[in-house]
Every structure is written in C-alpha cells, then in structure tokens.
C-alpha cells in the first residue's frame, strides 16, 4: 500500500482543516491586536485580556454560565442515568415505547420550540425567570443526551454481574452503588461533560428562559456583538476556545491512556 499522501489527499485535508479552524485562527489572531478596530492589525498586545479581567458585567455573566452549567449537567446526569436504567433494565413495561420515544424527542426538537414551550410553562406556573429557570431548561434538553450515552453502555453490560451481586447478599441499591455505577462510570462522566458543554454554549433556550438579573455568557456576547465586535470579545472567545480545547484534549488523553493500560494488563494476564 502506498503510504505517501497524494496531492488529492493533501488538498482535501487542508481544505477540511481550513473550513474548520480558519475562522477560529483569525479570531485568536485579532484578539492580540493593539488596535481598537477589529480588522486592522496594529501590533501585538495583550491589553484586551487585561481589560476583560476588569469588565465586571462579563465576569458576572461567566459566573452565571458556570453555575448553570455545573448544576444543570449534574441534575441532567442523575435524571438521564435513571431514565437509561429504567429503559434498559425494566423490560417491557406498558408504555415503554412511548416513554423511550419521549426521552429522545428533545434530541431532534428545534431549540426555539423547546425554549418557547418552557417560557410558556414558566409563565403559566408563575415562576420568576432567572438563573433557576435557565438551569431547569438546560436540564430538560441535556438529559436526553446523557440518557443516550448511558443506555448504550448499559446495553453491553453483563446482567449477570448484578445478579451475582444480589446472589452474594447485596440489596438492589448496594448493587447499583458497588457494581453497576463503578462499571458505567466512564459513560456517566462523558454524559456529564456532554451536558456541561451543551449548557455552556446554549444561546437560544437560555434567552427564552432568562430573566433580567441573569445573563449567561453566550447571551452577553451575542448582545455585545450586535453593537459591534470589540477586540475584548475576541479575547473572551479565545479564552473559551482554550478552555474547551484543553478539556477535549485531556479527556481524550485520559481515555487513551486507560485503553493502553487495560491492553497492557491483558497482555500480562495472558502471560500468567
């Protein structure tokens, strides 16, 4: 097999990367711009980062976003895992098909509709809109992602492990705590990370369910950009890209090392 890249491969690879990353590179590049004008290069500077650190509204928005993301992804992970266990483990109870269909519906539901219906609900029950309602809304739409990830792990889970635990005297809850949860934990964690990032960058649902006192970062950026793109926003976006990139790269490194470790241990096992 010819291992060398042909001109066709090189072209398609560079085109693909250009489409994916050129916009971000330009954004990062201009975040170090001295000039106040976004598209005119006037020399290297980190002043916009310093300015960002003193911009209280942006910092508040970042704090709100973080609080919403952590609480909603945690709640979504608990609920999504419970739903997944019910769907995979309980067999054919009446209404199972309906239930599983409804769990996965938010996956394909347009954000606008989810946001609008939640807004109507909150008005109907007289719930004041704010950080709490955003958190509820994010839990609603990210729960199904957790459920998908966890149930795919549960499907390949050897049922007899749970039976063995029961057989050895563990109650249903102890079995879940000591056997089921440790084994499905990687899936639960990736479900949490998925819910966290979904919450972090959601604009549409958050703007439907937010109140005057609580502005998330995406809402803040979006409204700021409407008044013109400032280099400060470039700096903020660069920071967000960095955080996400570090997260993704370290997550993949961790899982790769786990796989390598397991493979090594298995080889040792065969040599015994």
């Amino acid at each position: 097999m010819n291992k060398r890249l042909s001109w066709f491969n090189v072209t398609s690879l560079s085109l693909g990367f250009a489409f994916l990353y050129l916009p971000m590179l330009i954004l990062i590049f201009y975040s170090f711009n001295e000039s106040k004008l976004v598209t005119v290069w006037a020399g290297f500077s980190t002043k916009w980062y310093v300015e960002l650190m003193h911009d209280q509204p942006f910092l508040d928005a970042a704090w709100v976003t973080l609080k919403v993301a952590v609480s909603s992804s945690t709640l979504a992970t608990v609920l999504g895992t419970m739903a997944a266990i019910t769907l995979v483990r309980m067999g054919r109870f009446p209404g199972r098909t309906l239930f599983s269909g409804m769990i996965y519906a938010p996956l394909v539901m347009p954000d606008v509709i989810t946001g609008l219906s939640l807004l109507l609900l909150f008005i109907a029950i007289g719930l004041d809109r704010g950080i709490f309602t955003i958190m509820l809304a994010h839990t609603t739409f990210s729960m199904c992602y957790v459920s998908v990830v966890v149930s795919s792990r549960l499907l390949t889970f050897d049922r007899s492990l749970e039976e063995a635990s029961m057989d050895l005297g563990a109650s249903g809850f102890t079995t879940f705590r000591l056997v089921t949860l440790p084994i499905i934990l990687p899936a639960v964690i990736s479900g949490w990370l998925l819910a966290f990032t979904l919450s972090l960058d959601d604009l549409v649902i958050a703007s439907f369910t937010t109140g005057p006192s609580s502005t998330t970062l995406p809402i803040k950026i979006f409204s700021a950009v409407r008044l013109g793109v400032s280099p400060e926003i470039n700096a903020l976006s660069t920071l967000m890209i960095t955080v996400v990139a570090v997260g993704v790269v370290s997550a993949s490194l961790v899982s790769k090392r786990a796989i390598l470790k397991q493979r090594r241990e298995e080889q040792e096992g065969e040599r015994v």
Binding site: S160, E163, M166, D167, G169, L178
Partner: protein
C-alpha cells in the same frame, strides 16, 4: 493425603427417613405461552453433587434460577432446608451461584471479589481476612489476590468465581455450566478439583450442564431433562446401565436401539422375552424388568461396548447376529465397528485395541459375528 476412607455408601435418596435439603413440589414455570418447566418434583439431599443434564432449552437453567431466586415458579412450592422460599429474594437466601460467564466484578481485585459477599453480611474485618485467605488457599489463588479479573487466565477466573460463591459457606451452591468456557484438558482437571472441593467443604452442589460426560464424572445423581420435564433421576451408573426410556439411553453415551415385538420366552427364566426385529433374523433374547405383553412393541437398547466382534459366534453368549463391517472408527485405545446386518440394520460394537493396529483381526468388508449376552441390554417400552 493417604487417608483410608471408611466405606460408607452415600445414598440418602434410598433412605425414607432422610430429609431432603431441597424439595421441589409440582413446580411449573411459564413464560407467556411457553412452558419452560412442566410439573417437576425433585428432592436433593445434603452433601449431594446433583447434576441437571439436558440439551439447551430443556429448562435446566430456569430450574436453577428458581432455586437461586431469580425466577419465581408459576405454580408449585420450593422449600430449602424446610423453609418455603417463595417470598425470599436472592440476597436473603443461603444459596450462592456460580455463573456461566463467571460474572466477576471487573473493577475489583480477586481478593475483593471473594470478600464481596462477606462484606455484605458485615462480618468483622479479621473474619473476612481469614475466610478470604482460606478460600484463596482452597482454590490455589494466593499469588493472584491483588490482580484484577482481566489479568488472570480463564482457568484462574473460574476458580475465583468458585471461591467467591463458596466464601459465604452456603448451604447450597449452584453451578451454571461452570466449565463450559474451559478447553477440554483443563475441564477434565477442573472436574476432579470440583469434586475434591465439594467433598472437603461438605457443601451441596447442584450443577447444570449439557455435557453428559461432565455430569457422569462429577455427580452423585443425575436428572436428565427434556422439554421442561425430568425424564429420569438416578446415579450415573444407573442412568447408563438402566435408562428408563429411549431418550435417556440415547442422550447418555452411544447406544444401539433395536425396535421389535416382544413375546415371553416359553420355559425361560423370569422376565425372559424374545424380541423379533427383522424377518430371517434370530430374535433377540432379553430380560425385561417390567412385565411386557405378548406382541407389545419394545425398544432394545444395547451399548456398543457390550457387543463383541468375532469371526465365529461366541457360544457363551445367547445372542448372535451376522453382518459385514462397513466402517471402523479408530480412537487409539478402542475401535468402534459399524456392522450392517442382513436386514440393513446398522449396529455399533466397540472393542478394546489390545493388539497393535497392524495386527488387527478385522478390517473393512469383513464378514463377522456379533455376540452379546441376554442381560447386556435393557428392554424399554417408551
């Protein structure tokens, strides 16, 4: 351990005074329209090594899962040690199970796997240490205590599963195809190991298997199952020598089934009958253990090793048949000859290869006599 064992016959099932450890009374289990277990009655006694033997789908695993508590009978009653267990969940039964897949907890070490059950009953720490060490010694796993299940071989995993299920010293240990995943040589070694451990711990074992050799090797009694019913419960020797039906005879080992019509032999010993099975052939002389009516259709089951092959009919044996060798299966220690009689009927006969192969007395196409005694086979009516 050169220890002289007292010669006591272990047969509590023949003792009307003995109280069974497990009693199954008219157990039926249905899944929807499908009847997995059909009205089974079964007694299993303490210290027995009891085998449930049958083809896949015969209900043997379902029966075992009912003993463990993972299934509840649709009808009937199961008592363990005199207690009705209908309302007792699996985690409250003094019964442990060794799973076919071993079901070792992958995130726990060998030591923690074995200690799992003991920790659930909140045994004191030093008691757990002591018991786990004992189990590791019993299964020769001391060196592997800190390993994870994926770091040990298949045979070692099997022993961990056994140690884990024995750790709580259950009254009853259920083994679901425990040796299915091992290769043949390891399986044979492990069978003897299992018997040894069963004897040393004095635990009652119930094993589920589809491997008749395995059941015959390890069990004190075997229940042969088919389609949710128990066909016969007996010791391995009785199952082999005295099957009660064509199904059992055919399921255990090799057998020739000769179908014919019976007629009592005039002036013969008690139960002696002639079985006419083909025109122009001498009838088979046999002894029926149950009364057989004149002209009743019977099946005569005879094992290949009970038939001798010779150039001349053996005058010491009552039954003779003349035929031609059409096939020889050479297995090293024995050879099985397939002999076609004049009627076209094929009969298998096994002979020990006491002579070297080059000096074998018979070869393909040879015309030979088959001889067997009056009591060599059994007369079956179903």
């Amino acid at each position: 351990m050169a220890q002289v064992k007292p010669q006591i016959v272990f047969d509590p099932w023949n003792d009307p005074e003995a109280k069974p450890l497990i009693e199954c009374r008219s157990i039926t289990k249905r899944f929807g329209d499908f009847t997995a277990i059909d009205n089974i009655n079964l007694n299993i006694y303490e210290k027995e090594f009891f085998a449930l033997l049958g083809p896949s789908g015969c209900g043997k695993t379902t029966l075992m899962r009912m003993l463990a508590g993972f299934e509840t009978p649709t009808e009937g009653k199961i008592t363990i040690d005199g207690q009705d267990v209908a309302q007792v969940p699996p985690n409250k039964r003094a019964v442990n199970m060794m799973f076919q897949s071993y079901a070792l907890f992958p995130h726990l070490s060998v030591w923690e796997n074995i200690a799992f059950g003991l920790k659930r009953e909140h045994a004191p720490k030093d008691r757990i240490e002591e018991r786990v060490a004992e189990m590791l010694r019993l299964t020769r796993l001391e060196k592997f205590a800190r390993r994870k299940p994926h770091q040990i071989s298949g045979g070692q995993r099997q022993r961990v599963a056994l140690a884990r299920s024995l750790a709580k010293a259950p009254k009853l240990l259920l083994l679901d195809e425990p040796l299915g995943a091992l290769d043949k040589k390891l399986r044979q070694d492990t069978q003897f190991e299992l018997m040894d451990i069963q004897e040393r711990t004095g635990t009652t074992f119930v094993i589920v298997t589809h491997d008749q050799e395995e059941a015959m090797t390890v069990a004190s009694r075997v229940a042969v199952m088919d389609a949710g019913e128990i066909m016969q419960i007996a010791t391995p020797a009785d199952i082999y020598e005295q099957p009660n039906s064509v199904y059992v005879a055919d399921f255990i080992g090799d057998v020739n089934i000769i179908e014919g019509n019976a007629s009592p032999m005039a002036g013969g010993p008690e139960g002696a009958i002639n079985i006419a099975y083909a025109e122009g052939q001498d009838p088979v002389q046999a002894v029926a253990t149950t009364p057989v009516a004149e002209g009743e259709k019977v099946f005569y089951a005879i094992r290949p090793e009970k038939i001798t092959v010779s150039h001349q009919p053996d005058p010491d044996r009552a039954n003779h048949a003349f035929g031609k060798i059409i096939d020889i299966a050479y297995l090293g220690n024995i050879s099985t000859y397939r002999v076609q009689l004049a009627s076209g009927k094929l009969i298998s006969a096994t002979m020990t290869n006491s002579r070297r192969l080059t000096r074998r007395a018979f070869t393909w196409e040879d015309e030979v006599w088959l001889s067997w005694t009056r009591t060599a086979g059994v007369v079956l009516t179903k």
